[in-house]
């Protein structure tokens, strides 16, 4: 029987939606076991993992697991029997996946949009080259590690809940050379992190630095605010909001690009989104080539009208 370990992403003790997506995907690859780094989960959190199929919740309460080598050793201690390890693909987990692969001989695919078992081997699919190509990869090694992007699997509870038995795993972690000198949390407020948001409304040069309408539109649609490199370089909005190849890659169900021309650096971070809508003054802007619905116009006219119409529709 195939065991599929899932590294659970959690924030302030709560399981994140991408973690449930990863568990949902893992159910199609084997028997899911959850791997939880940090203080043991609450009964509610463990129960939720059970609802999504986790037979066990393996807890490694590792200090300094911010360092990749230590985090990888912790995940490794809790997933020794797993044939597949699934994690949400982020800059941090890519390092954990790499270290774990070197320790175990596993094959790794990161930034996958999904995975399936074919003749006993894990195959992944993903888009590359700014989402202009589809690629299918076979993991040849006996053990597979799959980093999956948020919003690529629809999280659904298992037909019947699994036990989610909490098991504490003792792990011997290596001494790290790296020393974390300081950590400053970035204020998220109540908003959903960009990478996980089901809707992203982004503003670029066309906003001239005024993000009020972009924020209003994002709030109305239940989404997060993104930005182009131009806008973060101008200092109009902080780097955490940057969507693009070197910022955050997003794959929301809806992406709204306001006053963004769509340079390849930006497209690489959003082109795999479900529906793409854009508003831009320049009819020749490359963003129109990848937009399902494009408006040649001024975002300061178009957004307020769209907001009004949506509110009217909802009120009706």
């Amino acid at each position: 029987m195939t065991i599929a370990a899932v590294l659970i992403d959690h924030r302030h003790g709560a399981v994140t939606r991408p973690a449930l997506e990863a568990l949902t995907l893992a159910r199609s690859l084997g028997t899911p076991v959850a791997v939880w780094l940090g203080e043991a989960p609450s009964a509610d959190a463990a129960a939720q993992l059970g609802e999504y199929g986790a037979t066990e919740v393996r807890v490694v309460d590792a200090a300094d697991a911010r360092v990749a080598s230590r985090a990888a050793a912790a995940v490794g201690a809790a997933s020794g029997d797993a044939d597949v390890v699934v994690m949400i693909s982020t800059f941090v987990t890519k390092e954990i996946a790499t270290r774990l692969a070197l320790a175990t001989g596993a094959g790794v695919v990161v930034d996958a949009a999904g995975a399936e078992l074919v003749d006993g081997k894990v195959e992944t699919f993903q888009t590359v080259f700014a989402a202009t190509w589809d690629v299918r990869t076979r993991i040849n090694a006996d053990k597979a590690i799959v980093g999956v992007r948020p919003n690529t699997t629809h999280a659904t509870p298992a037909d019947s809940p699994a036990a989610a038995t909490v098991v504490v795993v003792d792990a011997e972690l290596p001494e790290a050379r790296e020393r974390i000198v300081s950590v400053e949390p970035v204020e998220q407020g109540d908003s959903v992190p960009l990478a996980e948001a089901p809707v992203v409304v982004s503003g670029g040069r066309g906003t001239s630095g005024d993000y009020s309408l972009v924020s209003d539109f994002a709030e109305l649609l239940g989404g997060a605010v993104g930005a182009s490199r131009d806008a973060t370089d101008e200092g109009w909005i902080s780097h955490e909001h940057m969507v693009g190849q070197t910022g955050t890659t997003v794959t929301p169900a809806l992406y709204v690009a306001c006053g963004i021309s769509g340079a390849v650096h930006h497209r690489g971070g959003m082109q795999a989104s479900g529906t793409i809508v854009c508003i831009n003054m320049d009819p020749e802007a490359p963003i129109f080539e990848i937009s399902d619905f494009g408006v040649v116009g001024n975002l300061f006219d178009v957004i307020p009208q769209a907001i009004e119409r949506i509110k009217e529709h909802r009120g009706a």
């Binding site: 202009t132 020393r179 809508v277 494009g294």
Partner: protein, 262 residues
């Protein structure tokens, strides 16, 4: 201060990028040095300039065309160019590539110790960002990734790292592998004198036997993953483009409502 920078030959972002037999198509015409490696070269040059002494090596791995990547690094001002080229390397996954680079780094390090290996944050073709970690692990050196700022002092390197949920400051003893983001600096432009000099500068070419590596450890045969299918995605069908004549906001809203997105 002795620093080695890894540079990759990648298809130009503006070119029509494609796959051939499951591998990224690389040609001399539209290939270049991975844009994000310019930040790595710049970081290394700045550290050496600040120290007032030292040397920067640029290293690339790849077929004959890959020399374009180290030529670009020479144009920017690195002092030495290294090119590992061997047919047996083709088709390597990140772990095979890390083995090759680690062997080349050790060869340089054995001649005279290196302080740092600096890499870009990602290659804009594969975008996996896994190489710096794999390389640090292979070398058993300190690993400091995604630096948006870095400094070296008293045998230690310290970086700032901007993650989506936090800003970290991390230190580690030398030697270290450091990857830098495109926030770390603004890469310089090559000047005419360096461009001319780069054409004639020697490039040291090494094969696997020069690095005492067994070909069975690298290449397609050793790869833990294989691309089994690659196909261009069709453009989005049924695209709608309207020019605002007063009601485009309403039309946009209606589109979202019909799609169940608003």
């Amino acid at each position: 201060m002795r620093i080695l920078v890894t540079v990759k030959h990648t298809p130009d972002l503006q070119s029509q990028r494609s796959f051939t037999d499951g591998r990224v198509t690389r040609t001399a015409e539209d290939g270049t040095m991975n844009e994000l490696d310019e930040n790595a070269v710049e970081a290394a040059l700045q550290l050496v300039e600040a120290a007032g002494e030292g040397e920067v090596y640029a290293l690339t791995v790849g077929g004959p065309d890959a020399v374009a990547a180290v030529r670009k690094a020479l144009q920017l001002g690195v002092h030495h160019a290294l090119h590992v080229s061997d047919e047996a390397i083709a088709g390597s996954d990140v772990f095979g590539t890390a083995k090759v680079i680690a062997a080349a780094v050790r060869k340089v390090h054995d001649e005279a110790p290196l302080d740092l290996v600096v890499t870009g944050m990602a290659a804009l073709d594969g975008l996996t960002s896994m190489l710096p970690t794999a390389l640090a692990a292979e070398l058993d050196w300190s690993q400091l990734t995604l630096a948006s700022a870095l400094s070296v002092d008293g045998g230690e390197v310290t970086i700032e790292r901007h993650l989506p949920d936090s800003h970290e400051t991390v230190s580690a003893p030398l030697p270290a592998v450091v990857s830098v983001t495109d926030e770390a600096n603004k890469p310089r432009f090559p000047n005419f004198k360096l461009i001319m000099a780069a054409r004639k500068a020697p490039v040291t070419v090494w094969t696997l036997s020069d690095l005492a590596l067994d070909p069975a450890q690298v290449g397609a045969g050793a790869a833990r993953t294989t691309v089994i299918d690659a196909s261009p995605r069709p453009p989005r069908a049924d695209r709608i483009k309207v020019t605002d004549t007063g009601d485009a906001g309403t039309q946009l809203a209606n589109f979202l409502i019909e799609k169940g997105l608003a």
